[in-house]
């Protein structure tokens, strides 16, 4: 069975990027050279564990680089988006725009609902 055009585009979305929390992390990282873990925690509203889990997935996928060090006695985790990460985010944006274009306009009946 052939998938309709817009469904095909939806299916083609990069799932590693598509998840809302990971998308937010990538968007934050795209705006800077390096971001401290605490800032992401503040902005995302996610728990440390949850954020770490998303961070690990992005790191495994090669979209994010993680640098761990110490500031005095405090552990310091800094993240940056890789070139592959920037490309993936840009591609995701394009795909999303295409999905929007291909989705059918809501009918009058659905608008009334």
């Amino acid at each position: 069975m052939k998938t309709p055009g817009h469904l095909g585009e939806v299916m083609a979305l990069d799932r590693l990027v598509h998840e809302p929390a990971r998308l937010l992390i990538l968007a934050v990282l795209a705006g800077a050279k390096q971001v401290e873990f605490g800032f992401l925690e503040n902005m995302s509203g996610l728990s440390k564990g949850n954020l770490s889990s998303h961070m690990s997935k992005l790191e495994t996928g090669g979209l994010v680089a993680v640098k761990k060090s110490f500031r005095g006695k405090r552990p310091l985790t800094e993240l940056s988006i890789t070139a592959a990460g920037r490309r993936a985010l840009a591609a995701y944006r394009q795909q999303l725009a295409m999905v929007m274009q291909e989705l059918p306009e809501p009918t009058a009946a659905t608008k009334r609902k």
């Binding site: 929390a21 968007a27 934050v28 050279k33 944006r93 999303l96």
Partner: protein, 228 residues
């Protein structure tokens, strides 16, 4: 949802970029402080009585400013977490050029003073050693902290004035000198109080922008927390 997501992504990226500016190119109140200190150093050098205390204060001004700058960045402007600004290639080139210029000047002056010292059995008075130390601290400061053009100009003046005070002199005010060399020096130095005023205006504008940015970040944080 997708249109919303696109807009949201851009907003998050733009807010992060604005916040990151305060790690490097935007100083806010630390720029205001730099401007005020520049005016104090410019007028204080020639107008204040040359006592050990006033000289010590003038020498300590650049280090004090850099410390205050770091403190304000860490405890106020980047309180939500450190986010480092992405430099553009042009900014990177400009910064390297500034470091290279300062380094060359420091090398030339060190070589000149070395030649003089050699003629006096390698003896240099303490003031001159202080002058050299401040000169090399300027090279370090330019490489590490003075990353925007205004920061660089103010930093150079503060360090040079401190170095001159350490060596027993100062930048003269316009109209107070008669030799050609001093008059030229006073005319060149005239740009520093003007840059200081520009720096104060820029710092105040940046601080106002930061207060708006902080509110927008707080709104974003609340909305993402609610969604999470």
């Amino acid at each position: 949802m997708p249109a919303n997501v696109q807009g949201r992504l851009r907003q998050v990226e733009e807010l992060t970029r604005s916040y990151a500016r305060y790690s490097r190119s935007a100083g806010g109140l630390s720029s205001v402080l730099g401007g005020v200190l520049c005016l104090i150093a410019y007028f204080g050098g020639p107008l204040l009585p040359s006592m050990p205390l006033t000289r010590a204060v003038l020498i300590a001004i650049p280090a004090g400013w850099l410390l205050a700058k770091g403190w304000m960045t860490h405890h106020y402007y980047q309180r939500l977490g450190h986010v480092e600004q992405q430099e553009t290639p042009a900014e990177r080139r400009m910064h390297r050029l500034c470091v290279a210029v300062v380094l060359l000047v420091a090398l030339a002056i060190t070589a000149g003073l070395g030649t003089v010292a050699k003629q006096h059995s390698w003896f240099l008075p303490a003031g001159m050693l202080g002058y050299l130390a401040l000169l090399w601290l300027l090279v370090l400061a330019t490489w590490r902290w003075l990353r925007s053009p205004l920061d660089f100009i103010i930093g150079v003046f503060l360090f040079c004035q401190a170095a001159l005070v350490s060596g027993g002199g100062y930048y003269p005010l316009v109209g107070t000198t008669h030799t050609h060399q001093a008059m030229l020096m006073s005319l060149v130095a005239l740009m520093f109080p003007l840059v200081a005023l520009a720096m104060i205006a820029k710092g105040l504008a940046e601080h106002r922008q930061f207060r708006i940015l902080r509110q927008r970040l707080e709104q974003l944080r609340q909305s993402t927390s609610a969604e999470a």
